[in-house]
């Protein structure tokens, strides 16, 4: 049997959601253009989901074709409607776009550059925010290493957590902006929260580190007590003191 030409996979992407509160064609274009002008690179060619969740219940019929044309004219690429009221389904289906159920995840507002004057203005008819549905808000990328980290190697998980499924050898260094989890022996150096995250922690199966550090506070191997040495342990910052405790 020959290999298939394709594979179907589930995936999650972060998209811009355009949450429509009201639709008045002239105002819409003007407001959207003003909003996009604040960060043109962010929106250019960007896929957009049009959400009708916060549209007034008794809002008159929306001309979807006109709405899409206006979006496309401003370089947005509408891909779907979300939370479509049943009375609009026929009109929306005619546009050929996908229809998604109401979102469950909380979106993150794209900050407006002119926050103060915007607050004084009447509520804008359009709100843009990015959203990545199954991920929890604020979740960060995790780097996973499956092979031993050898002497002389340095692994850095930028902006997130680091998971090492093997050992970290003497003379090796692992760093992360977030937490570090090591499911083997830690014999080298581990530095968590290297950009100052004091809540970051280090977890390992076998604590035999040369140096451990959280947010710049560090301990050397001779500071490790008998109760944690070569045992499962975690490292956390409490105030200004780095605490190593058995797991």
């Amino acid at each position: 049997m020959s290999a298939p030409d394709f594979q179907l996979k589930g995936s999650t992407v972060t998209v811009v959601v355009l949450e429509l509160h009201r639709y008045a064609p002239e105002e819409f274009s003007a407001q959207l253009e003003a909003r996009i002008r604040q960060a043109p690179q962010l929106f250019e060619g960007s896929p957009v989901v049009i959400s009708l969740e916060s549209l007034d219940v008794d809002h008159p019929e929306v001309d979807f074709e006109a709405l899409l044309t206006q979006c496309r004219a401003l370089e947005l690429r509408p891909i779907a409607f979300r939370a479509l009221p049943p009375r609009f389904s026929a009109a929306a289906a005619a546009t050929g776009l996908a229809v998604l159920p109401p979102g469950t995840a909380r979106g993150r507002n794209i900050p407006s550059r002119e926050a103060a004057p915007a607050a004084a203005e009447p509520e804008p008819a359009v709100e843009l925010h990015t959203e990545s549905s199954p991920q929890r808000p604020g979740s960060r990328p995790t780097r996973t290493i499956t092979r031993p980290v050898r002497s002389g190697q340095q692994i850095y998980a930028e902006g997130g957590d680091l998971i090492v499924l093997a050992q970290v050898s003497e003379g090796a260094e692992v760093l992360a902006d977030g937490n570090i989890h090591i499911y083997g022996a830690l014999r080298g150096r581990a530095l968590a929260g290297v950009h100052g995250d004091a809540s970051a922690r280090i977890f390992c199966q076998n604590m035999d580190a040369e140096l451990i550090s959280v947010a710049g506070h560090f301990l050397l191997s001779d500071a490790l007590t008998e109760s944690v040495h070569r045992k499962p342990a975690q490292v956390a910052l409490q105030g200004d003191v780095l605490n190593v405790s058995a797991l």
Binding site: R147, P148, V149, R150, S151, G152, Q153, A166, Q167, S169, E170, G171, A172, G184, A185, R187
Partner: protein, 271 residues
């Protein structure tokens, strides 16, 4: 399909060349056509260990520079069939080796041999990296002491980041641990790391444990690979290692302290 095996260690003087000679000879003895290449350009040693130093006319660098053909440079071993040696140059340095030229020579050798053993120089610089670049498998030679083990760990990291297999995202280089100069009595006395300690630190499969022995030095000085001495414990240990390299399960010997027999104790003889 020809297999390229690098014998490497990071640290010098741990027995890379001795092991290359023994394992290459062992593979040839078992009917596999084998060539051992000395990558230690400038510090040629393999020819001495193999006892063919007087027959070196052309060398690896001559072949690289196309001043000689492979056939002219390869030396056929006189004791073992199927075995050839490609000596290093004593008068050049490691800069004589370039990636393209080494690749070209290895491609040619792959057509003719089943096993290509690359005897790496010490260190982690260009010479050592060139020796491991094209490897399919690696034999990491380690003495049971902390600095050798740490250097081996370093070279393992380089194998997994700088080899062609790593660079092209292929299946990683297969790693084997070979512990040499092992002395169970000194391990029991707490003067040496045990096999278990070394395995724990390096976390790669154990290919063999070669006992510390006068026979190894004697064999080197006589230019006869120690594996040819089937009476010697070290020779037997290398034979076992070759069997394991070929995929056979052989129990590890020479790992525990030998209790002197009654007559030996009576006569005060030494093992």
């Amino acid at each position: 399909m020809a297999k390229i095996i690098v014998v490497t260690s990071g640290k010098g003087g741990v027995g890379k060349t001795t092991s290359s000679a023994a394992i290459g000879t062992g593979l040839a003895q078992r009917g596999h056509s084998t060539i051992i290449i000395d990558f230690d350009v400038g510090l040629r040693n393999l020819d001495l260990i193999m006892g063919c130093e007087r027959r070196v006319v052309y060398d690896f660098v001559n072949v690289i520079n196309e001043e000689a053909t492979l056939n002219q440079a390869m030396i056929k071993d006189k004791r073992t069939d199927n075995l050839y040696i490609l000596p290093a140059s004593q008068t050049r340095d490691k800069d004589a080796l370039t990636e393209e030229s080494v690749a070209k020579v290895l491609e040619e050798l792959k057509e003719r041999f089943e096993y290509i053993i690359c005897d790496s120089p010490a260190g982690i610089e260009k010479g050592a990296q060139m020796a491991l670049l094209f490897a399919d498998e690696a034999i990491v030679v380690t003495n049971p002491e902390v600095s050798s083990v740490r250097d081996s760990d370093r070279i393992l990291g380089i194998l997994q980041s700088k080899s062609l297999r790593a660079r092209e995202g292929q299946e990683p280089v297969k790693e084997h641990l070979l512990i040499t100069r092992y002395n169970p009595a000194r391990v029991n006395a707490g003067e040496m790391l045990s096999v278990a300690d070394v395995e724990d630190i390096l976390a790669i499969p154990l290919l063999g444990v070669i006992p510390e022995s006068q026979d190894v030095l004697k064999a080197s000085n006589q230019g006869e690979p120690v594996i040819l001495n089937s009476e010697a414990a070290a020779g037997q240990a290398y034979s076992d290692a070759v069997e394991r390299l070929l995929g056979k399960a052989v129990e590890h010997r020479f790992v525990d302290e030998e209790r002197p027999g009654f007559f030996k104790r009576l006569l005060g003889g030494r093992a």
